[in-house]
Symmetry: C2
Subunit: 421 residues, 2 copies
């Protein structure tokens, strides 16, 4: 696949604002692209019937795919589970409503793993259909990568935005915790569940974030978005780094070199012990909360849930509150350590995944490089640009301090240009 065929949200909006593309046509273009490609990619679980396209609003004409873990009042919402076959929520999830209020067209629901957990969706990787697109936001990443839509919404509890974005060679942005609302998503672990965004490139995702939230997040045109000399970029030497594929480690080193060439103040930074411990707390927190949040499903639909999901919910229900509390204390210490870390550095560079998308569709890959940042609530983004020898995308992840989404997006935009130059 040629990633040049991806749709740029920024370019589409520019064309619309210049009177060169009517909103209706922009959405029709996506509808055609889905009709041509989705039999092969299987990114969508449902495509909306054609309907009136808003002429007003900053996202007028923007066709958005919504991960099927988020409620939509006008389209079935199955949470990737046969237990919810044909389920039709009464109202939208808050993020879906927000997108509509801005004029976006919800063109369809994108495939997710079961309850955004483990068991894979049927979606394939647009770069090579024998490989996973990653998960759990499999369809959102693949639909953007295959050029069917300019933007998609996903969620991340472990690594479900950044990892599929890396595997599919698109930009996936997990904002600071609570920047985008989670009401109306199927919760798995409410203190981790985070809504994120997918688009072709960093400028596209930043523009989408600005137009959705009304926050100053877009990357300005023309002048560089940040002064690189004033930005300290740290290659993050966590213990996990040794477990990444050689090609991934090479890409990360290259990324740091290119960042230095681009004028950033680049160094290396080790992982504080408190963060290594916090990472280990992720599973306890996720499973304990899933025991509560998904307990009602276990009670009603046990026979329709996968064995691994049943096992995870039951294991979560068996975790002692004292163990959960201890894990939360590790998180608290980790957050203090994260604050201290971001006094020494502005941006961390770390892999988005251990390597490129694994062969096969049985699993969606490993979140080991993502879950710490979900737990810390810090903004993180996959910057596309690198590939391995087989031509599969290799994603580099940038992370910033909580609330510094604007800086993260600006730096990521400059790095993306440097990576692709």
């Amino acid at each position: 696949m040629d990633t040049h065929r991806m749709m740029s949200l920024a370019a589409l909006i520019k064309a619309r604002d210049a009177g060169k593309a009517r909103p209706e046509l922009m959405v029709a273009l996506c509808r055609d692209a889905i009709a041509r490609n989705d039999d092969r990619i299987r990114a969508f679980t449902h495509v909306a019937l054609p309907s009136a396209v808003p002429d007003d609003g900053p996202l007028a004409g923007v066709a958005i795919g919504v991960k099927d873990i988020l409620d939509s009042f006008d389209q079935p919402t199955t949470y990737g589970s046969p237990a919810y076959d044909g389920f039709q929520p009464r109202i939208d999830a808050a993020i879906v409503d927000l997108a509509r209020r801005r004029g976006a067209s919800i063109i369809g629901k994108t495939a997710t793993t079961e309850f955004a957990f483990f068991s894979p969706a049927p979606t394939v990787n647009p770069h090579n259909p024998a490989h996973t697109p990653g998960g759990s936001s499999s369809g959102s990443a693949a639909a953007v990568a295959a050029g069917m839509i300019p933007a998609a919404i996903g969620t991340q509890t472990g690594g479900s935005v950044v990892r599929p974005a890396a595997f599919c060679g698109v930009t996936g942005y997990k904002p600071s915790f609570r920047l985008l609302p989670t009401t109306g998503m199927k919760h798995f672990s409410p203190s981790l569940d985070t809504v994120g965004l997918f688009a072709a490139g960093v400028e596209d995702v930043a523009l989408l974030a600005e137009l959705l939230t009304g926050r100053d997040l877009a990357v300005p045109e023309g002048a560089p978005p940040v002064d690189p000399a004033g930005i300290r970029v740290g290659l993050y030497r966590c213990a996990q780094l040794e477990t990444a594929d050689p090609a991934m480690r090479e890409a990360l080193e290259k990324a740091a070199d290119l960042a230095a060439d681009a004028g950033f103040d680049v160094g290396e930074i080790g992982e504080p012990e408190a963060l290594a411990h916090a990472r280990d707390a992720h599973k306890t927190i996720q499973d304990y909360e899933a025991g509560l949040a998904c307990g009602p499903d276990l009670a009603r639909f046990r026979d329709q849930l996968s064995a691994i999901l049943v096992q995870t919910i039951e294991a979560g229900q068996a975790i002692a509150p004292s163990e959960y509390d201890a894990a939360r204390r590790l998180v608290k210490h980790g957050r203090n350590a994260t604050s201290a870390l971001f006094r020494e550095v502005d941006i961390l560079l770390t892999p988005s995944a251990p390597g490129s998308a694994p062969l096969g569709l049985q699993t969606t890959g490993d979140p080991r490089f993502n879950k710490l940042w979900t737990l810390m609530g810090t903004p993180a983004i996959n910057i596309p640009g690198f590939t391995n020898d087989a031509g599969m995308p290799l994603g580099v992840q940038a992370v910033a301090r909580f609330g510094r989404d604007k800086t993260l997006l600006g730096v990521a935009a400059m790095l993306e240009r440097a990576f692709q130059a």
Copy 2:
């Protein structure tokens, strides 16, 4: 009404464990009490059909009323709104499922204000039907106060557990944020929405909390739950205190005197400036989040929402993100100030409401003494015991440091005995 007719959860469980009350009979007792009283009190929006009562589980035989803002798969869930007339969720809220897993019988849904916000439920105050029972957990508080059930579940976003408990003369316990799961509640302001518990007295609610969560929270029998000499109790001199009714201020002074008589280390403590500012941030945070969380309802059901709810959601959607961020910073400073405050004191005493339940059913009273503690995520409890000249309950609120729920419940149990002696 004679509050001695309230059902004690602790006494019921003791009788059950001694073989003196079978679970089925315990639930039947409640069913009868509801049939006799609820035409008058209007605490229930729905009463479950008789069904098999579990024999196993720590809450076997305990009939629980659930605020109708929380989903139940087997009973209609209307969120206090005609927009959800006849709505039947697919699964339980997490807290409802948890109660069932412990053996409880969900005997019915209790009345709530519209979306747990402003517009009142039809419930009356069991102590005087011309007075409000408080809100938004109106039915949960009134059902316990009227002796129809031994326990109920509610929620608090401003003051919706502690205030109705105070007005109805029962114990209302708002635990530390996240101690009880909110998944499956109708969210209004997710960073504030907190699940809480109602029962006749402090020991009852503490036992309920322990049996639900598996945490060590029950008040031990026999020996005093805490050594009062080691506990610093501060009468909280916030600016709002001057605005409380004279009878309420008198009750609070009396409460402090009785605490001293009971051996606690009692003093007075002023309000840090950062907390006064944080209190002012509550409305911005609540409304901004309601603009997102209830936006999907506004889009779909505008004509079926009350004017004040429509106005609040729209106002929330108009709040600039920068204003919300500024409010969140005030909260952060407030939390630091709260931590500092709880280095000087273990328990704060403050009114649960400005006075007793106001006359009339048009509003549910004022959360000015509650919303700060919801915002801080600290555990808070209404301790019943005082009444005004008209015999209406006057509630004293105790507040502890985040995570110190065990201490709060132990102290509150001792204070309750002191107040009632």
